[in-house]
Symmetry: C2
């Protein structure tokens, strides 16, 4: 067997069974090794941002890494933006980046580049395989790094390490340490602070603290002790919908965020970080809590967040039978009609959402109302891009659908954002994934128009307009989707949108609705 | 005025008048400043690989930098693959990467990343603006770096440097040093070596040595002294066609390349580097010249290559009236009919090529015959991806068309490669660029099938097939193009292809032909 075979064996021994791939010549021995392992599911992306974004979506839903297969520095570079999102989502991921044979690097052949320098900013661990005998240890180290938060592991595989012969190697199941025990000092400190600030304590939950079971405990704390529950502005994954506790999302605009947090004297972080402004603006603060707010960490991402919440509940003397406040039925609201609007789409999707659906939200400005409404929708998982990299939606939906074949994935996608990684639609068609993509076709970077106003420009001229608007020509998303083998149709009215959504939800396989706004 | 205004002024003062852009929030003040400068042409790309690839195409045709506008680390990351090609093409380019306000970086907001680490591998110069007063000096340094080969300059612009007020600054025209005088020692050494190796000397020309005038001199040397003329395997830009001297391109396959160079005892580099294998293969050499071959540099990329060739001609006692061997009329060959083939396309395009056209060749395996045939075509410029990054073709054609509005651009594009930066078609439609894209739709990564055979795999299985083939579903390039506003049609026969090509060449504006193979 060669080094590439060893790499496959280590991955499979550790239940890494999906490889999102866009290979090149330096990875041909690895491709040949994968070809000998039909138990590895290889999923081709026609662009590397699809590959890494799909691995992110897969990881968020499974809490397990997929492998990615990328071709040298430029292939890695194309995948970095969605690796950035994955890193900010704290997703586990094992990127395998093929490189020239080690002895070939000194010749500085055209594809040569400094892969370590490229990988470092978006990786938590970077390693280079040092010859065929090192493939096994390096692959195990990469797996361990991926499973140890934060978990973006990038393994550089020189071609001669892949093709070099090695003796039979025992497949290496990596033994992972359990999460550390709950830090009772932190629990007692947080409990005391909450008690000392009645009505003025808040809690931000994220990661496993944003799963239904943990949210239930957070909701009990909230109800019993008047603790306000928040989520970060960009949500890696949260379980939401009827019967579930729904934290308030900290708003994106700085003024709204600081207003929301103005009365909070104690802010408890559960798997979360202290909230900061997404961007700096002249004269506005970067930290969003008020001056003097006490920010306490109950537990961090790698800890057992649910156990920490349970310990806090006990410490605060709250019974496990404590009731919570949850959304039940939709607020009474007439079904909109006439020309399609963003809010009409939000209401329609929230009402029609099938149970156990997965929502990927990259609609940026267009689906703002959906988040509030979805608290009343059927129980579902909700995910967003987390690092501000645009182009995460279509790939993330792709990976989530591969992770959860029995569940409907609905991707709320802005037209500007969707174009960055539009190639992911082809992978959805190739794999016949059960993804409904709803494109909010407003033909502009609407968020940037808002940001231009934020910097004091009220009337924009030709140069700015040509950089902020996507019109002339308008994108035809129905043709784009069909061009990649995805069925698609266009809606310009509320009625037509509802008909298309009903149809898309009643069938399996990818479908795209261009919602013209 | 603010820092962003100063940046615009410095760019315009140095005749940088095109900005390929994909802006985000941290660049809004720069966008507002550009909006006050209608003399700057701002060209939106819907993905950053389009932006940097277009800047490369623009630079190759004008020998001048365009500016690119990219949004923080992830936006830069998306542009790196085509920056890599540009770096290998030795193209001048000024990348302006917006970043958070400097005081915001410590908060590690979601979009924060190590931009310097990302930029360094694909840049020859990286600078970060240190406050509003530094914008002028930093912008001038970036321009100087871009104009000093090799010329990829990346300037990181923190938002607070862009929005900070500065006093009126005199627009800074940068004074550039002329290229150094011809190195007569090198000339004499090369002349002596050529004289000492009759019939066994070769010369590789690239950059300005591959323009028609310089090629004419190289051709005189070749004829008079029996020096074999070569080009590198990947050609940044070469002037070719009837009446022009046509160097032999060093082949991509290692065995063919070493065979071609086997009889060369003296290899003279004119703006070129010693040829090496694109990839390493077990048991094959990395250097392509034979053991003991004397490799001499006549002049490097930053030198006056034409003057160096003239000096060498004089040193060798060749008269300026020396005749050269050039292609004249096409070899006699029947017009193919029936089902369309790669070679039929090559012949048709070569025969119908309008005078002064620009060819962008990213057809990888599919247009191999075109290069040989194009020596007989009408005079034209020929460009390829130079760094092995896939996805250069559509953007490069876009930038070349903006650089040369009066010339027809023909982009020979592989279907696999085209998908990486397919968004560039929209920019061609938006700007109504005179580009004919011919997609060689073979529905496979044909080069990788070849590479699998190179690593000894003759029959491939399901996993490999699913990573190397683009079928199931087939891409419909006509729909993709129309979805982005580009007129398109499909050809499956030679006759239909000829009709479509005639039509595309007789009109102005973008057109795409899907050539089904």
């Amino acid at each position: 067997m060669n080094g590439a075979d060893v790499l496959c064996d280590v991955l499979l021994a550790n239940d890494v069974t999906v490889c999102f791939a866009n290979p090149g010549t330096s990875e041909m021995h690895f491709v040949a090794a994968l070809d000998r392992k039909p138990e590895m599911r290889c999923v081709l992306g026609l662009f590397e941002g699809v590959v890494t974004g799909a691995a992110d979506g897969y990881a968020r839903m499974t809490e397990r890494p997929a492998a990615t297969l990328l071709h040298t520095g430029p292939g890695l570079a194309n995948g970095l933006a969605n690796m950035h999102n994955a890193r900010r989502a704290l997703s586990p991921m094992i990127n395998i980046v093929g490189d020239h044979a080690s002895y070939h690097l000194a010749l500085d052949a055209p594809l040569t580049s400094d892969i370590e320098s490229l990988a470092a900013p978006m990786s938590n661990w970077v390693g280079r395989v040092d010859g065929p005998a090192d493939v096994g240890p390096a692959a195990k180290a990469a797996f361990r790094a991926a499973m140890t938060p934060p978990g973006i592991a990038t393994l550089i595989l020189p071609a001669d390490a892949a093709w070099g012969e090695v003796g039979a190697v025992p497949p290496g199941k990596v033994k992972l340490a359990p999460p550390p025990a709950v830090d009772m000092n932190a629990v007692r400190k947080v409990a005391a602070a909450i008690r000392a600030a009645p009505g003025r304590a808040g809690m931000i939950v994220r990661g496993r603290a944003a799963r239904a079971d943990a949210l239930e405990i957070a909701g009990q704390l909230s109800t019993a002790c008047d603790v306000r529950l928040f989520s970060e502005v960009l949500i890696a994954r949260m379980q939401r919908g009827r019967g579930r506790v729904a934290p308030t999302r900290i708003p994106y605009p700085v003024d709204a965020a600081t207003a929301l947090l103005r009365d909070i004297d104690v802010l408890v972080l559960v798997g979360a970080r202290e909230p900061v402004a997404f961007f700096a603006y002249p004269g506005k603060p970067g930290r969003l809590v008020r001056e003097g707010c006490q920010v306490l960490t109950l537990a961090g991402h790698g800890d057992d967040l649910q156990a920490a919440l349970e310990a806090l509940r006990d410490e605060l003397g709250i019974k496990p039978s404590q009731q919570t406040v949850v959304a039940t039925a939709f607020p009474d609201e007439a079904t909109p009609s006439g020309k399609l609007t963003e809010d009409a789409i939000a209401l329609s999707v929230a009402r029609k959402l099938p149970a156990d659906a997965i929502i990927c939200d990259e609609a940026i400005t267009s689906a703002r109302r959906f988040f509030a409404l979805s608290a009343f929708a059927a129980p579902h998982d909700y995910m967003m891009g987390t690092g501000g990299s645009i182009g995460g939606g279509i790939p993330m939906a792709t990976g989530a659908a591969i992770a959860c074949p029995g569940r409907k994935v609905i991707n709320l996608e802005a037209d500007g954002s969707g174009m960055y990684t539009v190639q992911g639609l082809w992978t959805q068609a190739r794999e016949n994934l059960d993804v409904v993509t709803i494109v909010f076709s407003n033909r502009t970077y609407a968020i940037l128009h808002g940001e231009m106003r934020n910097v004091g420009v009220s009337a924009i001229g030709e140069n700015a307009r040509r950089m902020l608007d996507l019109d002339h020509p308008a994108l035809d998303w129905v043709l784009l989707a069909k061009g990649m083998g995805v069925e698609a149709a266009r809606a310009e009215t509320c009625k037509r949108f509802d008909v298309l959504l009903d149809s898309a939800l009643s069938r399996r396989g990818p479908f795209l609705i261009e919602a013209v706004l």
